[in-house]
C-alpha cells in the first residue's frame, strides 16, 4: 500500500496541469476531470484507513538513512495525516461537484479548476510530508492558489479581501520561514523526526521558546486564531461559495491547526507555558469569534466568524490535551480532550462546508447575501432549507447531530481536567451559536418574503443539491464515530499519534521497538 502514497500528490498536480494545457481544445475538461480525480483521491484516502502497519513511510527518491540521519524527503502516513487526507479529499470532491453548476456564472473556468486542483495538491502535500521545509513549500502552494481563488470574482470587494489576505499571509509565511531557519541553525536538519530527536538531546533552551512563539504566530495567522483573525471574514465571505467551503472547511485546518498539532506534539518537547498559550488562544478565539458573529447580517460573513469560533473549540480541545500531557496529568483525560478536538475538526469540516454550500445556493438563486433582504425561502427552496436546518443544528450542538458529541467530549475533558472556566465558556458559546443560527433561520428561511422582485425562486440545480444532501446525511452519520467500532478505525489512530509524542520519530529513523 505504501507505493500508492505519492498518487495523492501526483493526481491533483497532473490534473491541474492537464486542465491548463487542454482547456483550449476541450472547453468542459475542467468540470469533468476535477470531480473525477477528486473521487479517485477520496477512495485512495479512505483506503489508507485500512493500512497494514500503523505508520507508513515512503522515501522519495529512494534516499535511505545515511549514518542514521535522514537525507531525503519522506512521506509519512499515520493516523493524523490519514484523517486529514480523508477530510480534504472528501470535501474537495463535493465542492468540485458543486462547482460544476455554480461556476457557470463566472468567466475563466479553466483557471478555477486548475487552481482548485493545485489547492488540494498543496493541502495533501502539507499533511503527508515529513520534512519541515517541504511542508512550507506545499503550504505556499495551497495558500497562493487560495489567494487567487478569493479574488476570482475580480470585483472590488474580492480584490480588497484578497490583497489583505495576501499581505497577512505573506507575513505569516515569512515568520514561519524565520522559525524554520532558526531550527535549521540549531539542529542542522530539516526532517521533523530527526529534529525531534536532536531537540530532545539538547534539552530546553531560550531559542526553542522563541521559535515556538514564532511558529504559533505564523500558523495562528494561517489558522485565523483571534489576535490574527483580521483577514478571515473578508476572504472567506468574498470567495466563490465552494471555495469558501474549502477554505473554512479544510484549508485553515490543513495549513494551520494540523501544522500546529504536528509540530508541537511530535517535534517540540511539550512545555507547560506554550501549551497554556495555545489553550488560551483557542478559548479567546472560541468566545471572540461568536461575539463578532452575532451582529452580522451578511450570511457568508456570519458563517466566516463562526469558523473562527468553531476552530477555537478544536484548538481548545487539543491545547487542553497538551497541558495535561505536559504536567503529567491523567492520560485518559488527555486522550478525551484531544479526541474531542480532532472529532470536532472533522465535524466542522462537514457542517461548515455544508453551510457555505447552502449560502452559495441561496446566493445563486436570489443574488443576495444580506439576511434582511431574504425571507420565506423554505417554501421555494425546500432542499436547501432542510439541509441548512441539519447543519445549523449540528454546529449548535443539538443531540442527534455530530456537533453535540464532539462538544460534549471537549466539555467533559475540560471538567475532568480541572478547566472549569473553559467548560462554562464552551457551553455558553454553544448557546450563543444556537441563537445566532436561529436568527438566520428566522430571517432567511421562514416568515414572509422581503425580496424586491416577488418572483418564485426555484430549487438549486441537481449538481448543487446532491453535495448538500450528502453532507447533511454525513452530519447525522458522523455521530457514529462515538461508537467504539468506528472510533477505533477512524479517530483513535490519530489520537494515538498525538498522545505518544515521540513514537512519531521511531519508524522514520528505523528505531523500531
Amino acid at each position: 500500500m505504501t507505493a500508492w502514497i505519492p498518487l495523492l500528490v501526483i493526481l491533483p498536480l497532473s490534473g491541474a496541469f492537464l486542465i491548463a494545457i487542454f482547456s483550449g481544445m476541450f472547453k468542459r475538461i475542467g468540470g469533468i476531470l476535477t470531480p473525477l480525480f477528486m473521487l479517485i483521491l477520496t477512495c485512495l484516502g479512505f483506503m489508507f484507513f485500512f493500512r497494514e502497519t500503523d505508520v507508513l513511510v515512503y522515501h522519495i527518491g529512494g534516499w535511505e538513512l545515511y549514518n542514521g540521519i535522514p537525507v531525503g524527503i519522506h512521506f509519512v502516513v499515520d493516523g493524523l495525516s490519514v484523517l486529514m487526507v480523508a477530510i480534504i479529499n472528501l470535501m474537495g470532491f463535493l465542492a468540485s461537484f458543486y462547482s460544476v453548476s455554480y461556476i457557470r456564472k463566472f468567466t475563466g473556468e479553466k483557471y478555477y479548476y486548475a487552481l482548485f486542483c493545485l489547492m488540494v495538491a498543496g493541502m495533501n502535500g502539507v499533511v503527508l510530508t515529513g520534512d519541515l521545509f517541504n511542508m512550507f513549500i506545499f503550504l505556499e502552494i495551497a495558500v497562493i492558489s487560495s489567494y487567487a481563488l478569493v479574488a476570482f470574482g475580480i470585483e472590488r470587494e474580492e480584490l480588497e479581501a484578497s490583497f489583505k489576505y495576501q499581505v497577512l499571509g505573506g507575513v505569516a509565511s515569512l515568520v514561519i520561514l524565520l522559525g524554520i531557519a532558526l531550527i535549521y541553525w540549531n539542529t542542522g536538519t530539516l526532517n521533523i523526526a530527526d529534529i525531534a530527536i536532536v531537540l530532545k538531546e539538547n534539552g530546553d533552551n531560550k531559542l526553542i521558546s522563541f521559535v515556538q512563539v514564532l511558529l504559533i504566530a505564523g500558523f495562528g495567522l494561517k489558522a485565523a486564531m483571534i489576535p490574527f483573525h483580521a483577514w478571515l471574514p473578508d476572504a472567506h465571505s468574498s470567495a466563490p461559495s465552494p471555495i469558501s467551503a474549502m477554505l473554512s472547511g479544510v484549508l485553515i485546518k490543513a495549513v494551520g491547526v494540523y501544522a500546529i498539532m504536528r509540530l508541537f506534539f511530535n517535534m517540540f518537547t511539550l512545555s507547560y507555558e506554550i501549551s497554556m498559550l495555545i489553550t488560551v488562544i483557542g478559548a479567546v478565539s472560541m468566545v471572540g469569534g461568536v461575539l463578532l458573529a452575532v451582529g452580522q447580517w451578511d450570511f457568508k460573513r456570519l458563517l466566516a466568524y463562526h469558523s473562527i469560533s468553531q476552530m477555537g473549540y478544536v484548538v481548545l480541545g487539543v491545547g487542553m490535551g497538551m497541558v495535561i500531557l505536559s504536567v503529567g496529568g491523567s492520560r485518559d483525560v488527555a486522550v478525551l480532550a484531544i479526541a474531542g478536538g480532532l472529532y470536532h475538526m472533522v465535524n466542522h469540516a462537514v457542517f461548515k462546508g455544508l453551510l457555505f454550500l447552502n449560502a452559495g445556493a441561496v446566493e445563486y438563486k436570489t443574488g443576495t447575501r444580506m439576511l434582511r433582504e431574504m425571507g420565506g425561502l423554505s417554501n421555494n427552496m425546500p432542499l436547501t432549507s432542510a439541509t441548512y436546518f441539519s447543519a445549523s443544528m449540528a454546529i449548535s450542538g443539538i443531540p442527534p447531530f455530530n456537533g453535540f458529541f464532539s462538544k460534549l467530549l471537549i466539555i467533559i475533558a475540560a471538567v475532568q481536567g480541572g478547566f472549569y472556566l473553559m467548560a462554562i465558556l464552551a457551553v455558553v458559546v454553544s448557546i450563543i451559536t444556537l441563537a445566532s443560527f436561529l436568527k438566520v433561520h428566522r430571517y432567511a428561511f421562514i416568515g414572509f418574503s422581503r425580496f424586491k422582485n416577488k418572483k418564485m425562486f426555484g430549487e438549486a440545480p441537481f449538481g448543487m443539491g446532491l453535495p448538500m444532501v450528502i453532507l447533511a446525511v454525513l452530519c447525522l452519520g458522523l455521530s457514529l464515530l462515538i461508537i467504539p467500532f468506528f472510533r477505533d478505525i477512524f479517530l483513535s489512530p490519530a489520537v494515538n499519534t498525538l498522545i505518544h509524542t515521540l513514537d512519531y520519530s521511531q519508524p522514520i529513523l528505523g528505531l523500531l521497538p
Partner: protein, 185 residues
C-alpha cells in the same frame, strides 16, 4: 570579510529605509534595487554563485514589472496624515505618537528576544552540519553532479523543486485569473 558584509548590510538597511520613506514611487523602487543588489554581492562573498545569478535576474525582472505597474500611476506617494499644523508649528498628532511608541517597543522587544535566543548558536563562519553532511561527503559521487546545489535541488530534494516550480505555475495562473477583463458572465 565580516566587516565588509556588515557594511553592505548597513547599506541595505539604509536603502530599504529610504525605499519606505521616499516621496516618489519610482525612486522608492530604484532604491529598493540597492537592497537587492547588495544581497547579490553578499551572495557572491558568501560563496553562493548560483544564488547570485538567480537573484540578480529575478531582481531585474521584478523591477521591470514594478516599474510597469508604477508607470500607470501618478508616481506620488500617498500623503501620510502624521502631523498637524497649529499656528504654523508642526505637531505629531497623539494617535501617531502612540503608534510610534508601541511600534518601537514591539520592535526592540523582538530584537532583544532574537539576540537572547540566538546567542548560544554557532557564530558566523562555523556551521555544524547534520543533514547536509551526506550531501557534501557522498553527494557528488552518488548523484554525479559536480554542482552540489544542483545535486541537492534535483536529486536529494527533487520533490522540493517540483513544489517550487508548481508555486511559480500557481502564481502565473493566479495572475492570469486576476487580470481577466470581466469576472462574471
Amino acid at each position: 570579510m565580516e566587516v565588509l558584509i556588515a557594511i553592505i548590510i548597513v547599506l541595505m538597511i539604509a536603502g530599504s529605509i529610504y525605499t519606505l520613506h521616499s516621496r516618489d514611487l519610482l525612486s522608492a523602487v530604484i532604491s529598493y534595487g540597492i537592497t537587492g543588489f547588495g544581497l547579490v554581492i553578499c551572495f557572491l562573498l558568501l560563496q553562493a554563485p548560483d544564488l547570485a545569478i538567480a537573484q540578480i535576474l529575478v531582481e531585474i525582472i521584478t523591477l521591470i514589472i514594478m516599474i510597469s505597474v508604477i508607470r500607470i500611476s501618478t508616481r506620488e506617494d500617498v500623503t501620510e496624515r502624521s502631523t498637524i499644523h497649529i499656528k504654523g508649528v508642526r505637531y505629531i498628532n497623539m494617535r501617531t505618537a502612540a503608534y510610534i511608541v508601541t511600534g518601537a517597543v514591539f520592535m526592540i522587544a523582538l530584537l532583544y528576544f532574537f539576540m537572547d535566543a540566538t546567542v548560544l548558536l554557532d557564530p558566523f563562519g562555523v556551521h555544524q552540519v547534520r543533514m547536509s553532511a551526506a550531501y557534501m561527503e557522498v553527494g557528488a559521487a552518488i548523484t554525479g553532479s559536480a554542482n552540489l546545489v544542483a545535486g541537492v535541488l534535483f536529486d536529494f530534494r527533487a520533490y522540493d523543486t517540483l513544489g517550487e516550480a508548481t508555486i511559480l505555475i500557481t502564481a502565473v495562473i493566479g495572475i492570469l485569473t486576476v487580470l481577466r477583463l470581466k469576472g462574471r458572465r
